[in-house]
């Protein structure tokens, strides 16, 4: 078979990249070798169009125990001798084609990234985006994705403790499925994804290899078209039971101290794990591909290299300690085969029945080595003109506040996601402290460490669409605010950057500005970006999705019993607004979903003001002055008040300041605002502290036993409002 530019093109390698390969290799690669480049130089594995900008993020220092990108997931010091390992990753493209398996294997993949480092996953979260909920296709995708996440996570036995679900038309063809996993490990007990020590054996553990997921990495690096639906074999199939055994066995095998390095096989399968482990250890490997257990006959070398069959691990073992390792995998009935050994020539040599099928320098394949890094053009998107043209005065103010409020709590982006989260096991592990004590972020007991972790995923992509720079800052700020309002201290970030086609300058503009804003906010909150994932090509012939840089943030709570909850507790408690009201309805759910205006600027936001507000909220929680804290986000003040009342069926009496527009006062989404409740006496203390700190605080009303009174008007019982809020999505699905 003659290898030409055309062969390369079919493998999604550009002409320019093909020439680069020939030049660096000093010859034309054979087909198997070209396939290796196809996987490793794909956007998904190489970050070729993103790495230049990712390097501008705060990526080391502070409490980070490894720099970003060094290992499979981020690792930070949480104190008391423990590290927290966390990462978020996308599985958008597979989920668009086969929602159940796509989402399930997304969950499986992210957990593997955590336990391959020696950490036990203790919590998972997800961020999901779909098209219009009224659409049958969306309902099918939603059902499949939720079922897939539940199927895998519930069986694997890690609680799904939090997440977010949004419905916007732009995600109709390209749903987003981002899964996050968080684990804990003793500092010094982590395992590195490294191959070292000439002659050390290389073991292949877990499921047999099939033809599923071949080309998955390069599949995820292209737009979704009509033909994509014919790429079903590029979607992997998951087996959570196998992964549960793999988890227990891997953690047990680490205890033997026989493990030199370990890496899971995810995107680009065997070629990726062998290349990355070797490049990291400045070593090479000699692999006999015919020794890899397969579930299909006559698999070719290139198929074995690229298969993305799930639940597989590559482990380098210290020579002479093979028996200890084999004993553990035998106990767990997991197939374990020695498939090769570590060499010191920096070369990856793959054999089939004694014939050399591919010989490549490991370094040439990987990010930071031979993989290309591009600088892309970007230009301000044309739609910005429409955003700049928005005039608040052109929107008539609300006349019937109550009927708008009733509509708002039933908008799918605001209504309860009960239908979704009750399908996830949120309590396995008996560590989810939020089950009976809800707060803005999820509070998870990290058993054995003496501490709790406070975790959230956040991104309002409509804000990012309106203003990528500010919108990304808001995503970071909201994540930090949620953690602070729960009583935690923000520690670090993992990000999942979901964008359209990077070769389109307007899309790339969104990417550049979002990463810049994210970096600025992360520096302000001292939350470094420990790693994550870039997903480009979330695009279809009609255009790209909203730029969606999902933020996964982890915080720490030193005393697990010292959390703050979001629900009103006592009749008569004062309700305080910390932060300032604004005459602003820009990019709000109200403006978009009720008034039908899609183009408006990002809501009001000031990074320094946000930081000061969070510091103040943290101080009143620490001083035990408040009984609840809930930040204002989608749906504005009204939705925040209602949500604060739902858990204990508490009502409230609040009177608006009529110097503001009604829509802005009740439904505006200006940032940096938090609603807290406290005793009458403490309200005075808080006001004094606020005055001294220069923080705006207003008493806006009080908690009541069950009924709602707005501007003196009786709005009925909170329970009736809760019923509407709880059942809106369920009714849409009937």
């Amino acid at each position: 078979m003659e290898i030409t530019v055309e062969t390369a093109r079919q493998l999604r390698i550009t002409e320019e990249e093909f020439k680069l390969i020939q030049e660096k290799l000093g010859r034309t690669p054979n087909f198997t070798e070209l396939c290796a480049f196809s996987g490793m130089w794909s956007e998904h594995c190489s970050y070729k169009n993103s790495i230049k900008w990712l390097k501008t993020l705060p990526r080391d220092g502070g409490k980070m125990l490894v720099a970003a990108g060094e290992e499979n997931a981020g690792l930070m010091d949480m104190g008391n001798g423990f590290g927290v390992v966390f990462k978020i990753e996308s599985h958008n493209h597979p989920s668009a084609i086969e929602p159940f398996q796509g989402a399930a294997t997304g969950v499986g993949g992210i957990h593997r990234d955590i336990f391959t480092m020696g950490a036990r996953p203790i919590a998972s979260l997800n961020s999901l985006r779909f098209g219009n909920l009224a659409d049958k296709k969306t309902q099918r995708l939603l059902g499949g994705v939720v079922h897939g996440i539940g199927h895998y996570g519930n069986c694997f036995g890690v609680p799904t403790v939090g997440g977010e679900v949004y419905f916007e038309d732009c995600y109709h063809t390209n749903p987003l499925v981002n899964a996050m996993s968080v684990g804990i490990v003793k500092v010094g007990k982590t395992v590195s994804a490294i191959a070292q020590g000439e002659g050390n054996p290389v073991f292949f553990v877990g499921s047999a290899t099939g033809k599923d997921g071949i080309g998955g990495a390069s599949f995820a690096s292209a737009n979704i078209t009509e033909e994509s639906t014919e790429e079903l074999p590029a979607v992997q199939v998951g087996d959570p039971f196998q992964e549960k055994k793999l988890l227990e066995a891997c953690l047990e095998v680490i205890e033997t101290n026989a493990v030199v390095g370990m890496q899971d096989m995810g995107a680009a399968g065997i070629i990726c794990s062998t290349a990355e482990m070797s490049a990291k250890g400045k070593s090479g490997m000699r692999i006999d591909l015919d020794k890899v257990p397969t579930r299909q006959k006559n698999m070719k070398a290139w198929e074995l290299l690229l298969s993305e069959s799930q639940e597989r691990m590559l482990i380098v073992v210290e020579k002479g300690k093979e028996a200890e390792v084999l004993k553990v995998f035998e106990k767990w009935d997991l197939p374990c085969s020695e498939i090769g050994e570590v060499t010191n020539d920096g070369l990856l040599k793959f054999y089939m029945h004694g014939t050399l099928e591919a010989e490549l320098p490991a370094e040439l394949l990987v990010l930071g080595g031979g993989a290309p890094q591009y600088t892309r053009e970007y230009t301000e998107p044309k739609y910005f003109e429409k955003i700049k043209a928005f005039k608040l005065d052109s929107v008539a103010d609300i006349t019937d506040l109550r009927s708008v409020a009733e509509k708002m709590i039933q908008v799918p982006n605001i209504a309860s996601k009960r239908w979704v989260y009750t399908q996830y096991d949120s309590m396995v592990g008996a560590n989810n402290l939020s089950t009976n004590a809800p707060s803005d972020a999820s509070v998870v007991l990290a058993k054995g460490t003496g501490k709790a972790l406070v975790i959230t995923v956040d991104c309002n992509s409509k804000y990012v669409f309106a203003d990528p720079y500010t919108g990304a800052m808001i995503a970071v700020a909201e994540a930090a605010r949620n953690i602070v309002c729960s009583g935690g201290e923000p520690l670090g970030v993992t990000n999942c950057l979901n964008f359209g086609n990077p070769y389109e300058p307007e899309v790339y503009y969104q990417f550049v500005k979002a990463v810049t804003g994210m970096g600025e906010a992360c520096r302000k909150f001292n939350t470094p970006v420990t790693g994550g994932n870039v997903s480009f090509y979330n695009q279809h012939p009609e255009g790209a999705v909203y730029p969606t840089p999902t933020i996964g943030m982890v915080g720490v709570m030193d005393d697990p019993a010292a959390g703050m909850t979001l629900d009103f507790k006592n009749d008569g408690d004062s309700i305080l607004l910390i932060g300032e009201q604004q005459n602003d309805i820009a990019s709000s759910e109200y403006l978009h979903k009720i008034k039908g205006v899609e183009y408006s600027p990002a809501p009001y936001f000031d990074l320094d003001e946000e930081f000061a507000i969070q510091k103040f909220v943290a101080s009143v929680i620490k001083d035990k002055l408040i009984n609840s804290a809930h930040d204002i986000s989608e749906g504005g003040l009204m939705v925040t008040l209602l949500e604060s009342g739902f858990n204990r069926n508490k009502g409230f009496e609040v009177k608006a300041d009529d110097t503001f527009r009604k829509d802005a006062y009740w439904f505006g989404e200006a940032q940096s605002r938090v609603v807290v409740s406290c005793s009458f006496q403490n309200a005075a203390i808080i006001q004094q502290k606020a005055a001294a700190a220069g923080i705006p605080v207003t008493i806006i009303g009080k908690v009541t036993s069950a009924s709602i009174k707005i501007n003196g008007e009786d709005w009925g019982y909170i329970s009736a409002w809760k019923e509407k809020y709880d059942t809106a999505i369920e009714k849409s699905l009937e």
Binding site: P240, F241, G429, T435, N436, A561
Partner: protein
């Protein structure tokens, strides 16, 4: 009274049960591996627990494979000699599959996995808040068996509302007669879908699980 917890491949509530019994109830706990079969360290006064999870993946019928494990053969002998056995969630399914308890657990009526706090009550007691988390928890048996269970006082828990009312609104899975848990005729084998081990510590904000252990005489 000491406890043994059987760990099957795919068990995922084994550690939670261990934590609850050891840390919250102060009990001695021994973890038991499914491939072993030695239960000689346990007497009739002790209790073997089959924890929740997805034993052997549950790709066949839930619990259908676990019943054939070496350890389960010993557990059946132990139960038949009067030893106490408690199966929670997947453990309940295994007890039904192995014939130690009558009936079966079918897929939930709405065909969805459900995880949430529910309320359960014994024949005379108050409603307790205990979480469920299962896809196949709809208790089913023929009418005759159900009548016998009721007549023999073998229904230990029913799903109810917070105020203790037993009705379909309070039933999370469509279980017949709202059955959440049963015991055998001799009163030494217990099976239940709700998870008492998930609500036995004050830090979790719910200690109703302790009441469950107490009611079953396992405290």
């Amino acid at each position: 009274m000491k406890f043994g917890i059987v760990v099957f491949p795919g068990s995922n509530c084994d550690r939670d049960m261990q934590d609850a019994l050891r840390d919250d109830l102060g009990k001695e706990v021994i973890m038991l591996w499914h491939k072993d079969k030695d239960l000689s360290m346990f007497s009739k006064e002790d209790c073997i627990i089959l924890p929740g999870g997805f034993s052997y993946g549950d790709y066949l019928r839930c619990g259908a494979i676990a019943r054939f494990s070496p350890m389960m053969q010993s557990v059946v002998d132990f139960a038949n000699k009067g030893g106490k056995v408690l199966g929670v969630c997947n453990g309940f399914q295994i007890l039904c599959e192995s014939g130690l308890l009558p009936g079966v657990l079918l897929q939930n009526a709405n065909r969805q996995f459900v995880c949430k706090n529910v309320f359960i009550k014994s024949e005379k007691g108050n409603a307790w808040k205990v979480p469920v988390a299962h896809g196949e928890g709809r208790y089913y048996a023929d009418e005759k068996t159900l009548d016998e269970l009721e007549a023999g006082g073998q229904v230990i828990f029913r799903y109810c509302s917070e105020s203790g009312k037993v009705d379909m609104d309070a039933n999370p899975n469509g279980a017949l007669r709202n059955i959440a848990g049963i015991q055998n005729k001799n009163g030494n084998v217990f099976g239940m879908m709700p998870h008492p081990e998930r609500c036995s510590s004050a830090l979790m904000g719910n200690v109703d699980g302790k009441n469950v252990f107490k009611l079953l005489g396992l405290n």
